[in-house]
Amino acid sequence: MSAALEPRVVAPGSAADAAALLAACAREGAAVVPVGGSTLQSLGNAPRRCDVLLHTSGLSGVRDYLPADMTAGLEAGTTLADVARVLGEFGQWIPFDAPRAPLATVGGTLAAGWAGPRRAAYGRPRDLVIGSTVALADGSLAHAGGMVVKNVAGYDMSKLYVGSLGTLGLIVRANFKALPRPPAHRVALAPLADDVRDRTLAALGHLEIEPSAALIFDGFAGVARFGDAGVRLLLTFEGSDAVVERATRGVRSGLGKAGIPETLLLDGGAAERALAEAIDAYIDVPGASLTYRSVGLPSTAWSRTRSAAALAREYGLHAESVADVRTGDAILRFSAADVATFAAVLGGFDAALHRAFERTTVLAGEPALRAAIDAWGAEPSTIATMRAIKARFDPTGILAPGRYVGAI
């Protein structure tokens, strides 16, 4: 954020106040950047201007949770940990799978368009949103959807706001369809040496019970720990006890045949922590590092991490990765001894990375490195439509200006 003056920090206490504030900012031409738990502020470019930091801490609470309907109205500033706690009491959950659940908020997670590793099993947060209230720059409060789980009345506007990074309005509330929380949760960890890797990847495709997440870590020391193994496999299984037990037998047998002698099992809270820590690590910024997320086909996730590592070597960078072989995400972290060393090759490396993989965007990184590149890579072919949407919703360009794709 480039403003010479410190931005004003505000935390409206109601949706109406938030809408009035946006209208006032629009009249004054004051740039507004919404802030939830500040966990994913590294997404996108730094806004060109920031006069007002709009915190959603005053808009927080599980408002209309109806366990018997399995629906919940969540205010934007509610933390994911609070959502998990309140819904958990009724054996329900909303699988956000976002980093830093104690800090991360519902509004921020939606605005970031976050979708984690278990989306292959449970859908993305966007798929569970059944309604929303958004404060717009003209001071209006726009509702979409409702509190029913099936609804085709009018455009599905919630989809537009999810992933818009605060550039169209402020999500003040979202209604969700909750899911039954699986009773048993197990994580299986295994080392993945070079000589067993291909066979193991093939074996994963033949498991009778699919893992809800399947991640291959290379680097990211400290998470998915398995002895001193360099490359590790993390699988999560959820469901009834019987299903998790059968899944475990299947994994041991499948991985055993592929040449992996030993699998470490974690259950319950330990399993949940292991997955949460792994997801938290996606946005860690150790020293002079930059982390990208490359989205693609599940079948190419692993090979993309290998190509990225090879590319990093060409530029003298150190590469770490997570290959999410169920969703197709590749989390690619690159680092150098210091910022200056990284910065010297960054322009060429970033361009080469975008040439190699489409749909690769910056997830987190050292601020100076992030500031030196565009976070989004090539503009999508629909950029003109996106710019027109921005112009209609935020004609004076006060909402997180410059943060989004194509400098929107």
Binding site: Y155, K159, L160, P180, S299
Partner: protein, 468 residues
Amino acid sequence: MVTSLSSRLLEALGPDIVHTSREDLTVYAYDGYSESRLPSAAVIPRDAREAALAVRIAAECGEPIVPRGAGSGLCGGAIPAQGGMVVSMVRMNRILELDVRNRRARVQPGLINLELSKAVAPHGIFYAPDPSSQKVSTIGGNVGTNAGGPHCLSYGTTTNHVLGVEYVDSTGAIHRCSIDDPGYDLTGLLVGSEGTLGLVTSVDVRLMVMPEAVRVFVAAFPDVESASEVVSAIIAAGIIPTALELMDKMITASIESHFHVGFPLTAGAVLLVEIAGAADDMAAGEAAIAQIARRHGALSWRAAADAAEREALWASRKGAGGAIGKITPNFYIQDACVPRSKLPQITHEIERIAREYDVKIGNLYHAGDGNLHPLLCFDRREARSVHAIVEAGTEILATCIAMGGTISGEHGVGHEKRGSLSLVFDTEDLAAMGRVRDVFDPHKLFNPDKIFPTGAVCGEVRAVPAVA
């Protein structure tokens, strides 16, 4: 103007693609709704390029562009309400790419829903959204309405299974968008936009692995109220079956007379329940649901013996619309949604409305989702009967809204309910949607007079609702 549209289309695309004679156009005047209007031209493109050319010509002529799938929609979504050009996608009915490993396919919009699942079944995968119309309705039409179906309860609706689309914009340019693209989720906007934002020319769909085990049960209850209490209790217990359908006596009787699948004829209501997943969970799943059913006075509980019986039961349920024709000259199928805990209450209210308006109403619910399809019986030759169902249908909608529900769960707003959208959204809500419309279609050529309320209520003749 009209002459210029037809002649320009003919000149550009030829008589095989462009139909302009009155007899050829008649079929494009209708869908499953009651109103109709002849278009000036019907275009049946073979590929996206031809579709785009047609859109460009219509746009240059300032004429409406109305996308059409199978025309099975019940709300007038495919009727050319202001005339102009209908674009029928039936020739674009191929699977362009199938990626079994990554469980996705790129299909043309004219592909029939069921044909997709049939084509991929040998690979152990399926396309989850299964509207009752799936034997005839198209993927493109399903995208337009964000179609649902019985199995949406656990798998989600069309929007949860569309990964991206290719579409023709209001200038005739072709674009592709994906939910994985950086930037705004245009895919999410296009799904359910009922052809008002663009013409979809291909769809990237998510395919799912067939569950290892499937069980289907038929439970009978003394009345609709007790059956709906069971549905609410199942959801309240945190159990989400893959499908949970409720049919009252009138519906089961008509289905039974047609399909002979063994629905108990003496029961006041029947629940059709499906659970699916790991084989290990089937016994416990059945026990939990059966126990709830018995606690609420189930008269009987029967499990389908095998896949053939399961399929027969589902075919009969999806054929209810056709079967009901045996017992009433005409019927009007309403589509509304309430929170699932409100099912017993809305059931009670529908009974009251039936009595008050002296209308025979059959109840057919995608109950697990709170999605109601009351079937209002009438005889279109009797003005009194038509008037009564219009009034009763309106009151059912209003009652659903008062309970926190909405005006459509899966059929869409279309032409029929555009006046009702303002019952659930205020002017600020509608203005936000209007902005999206303006961006995609500034001249409002794509499917005009759909979804959005018309400004002033003009003296139009009140429609006779959907007739089957």
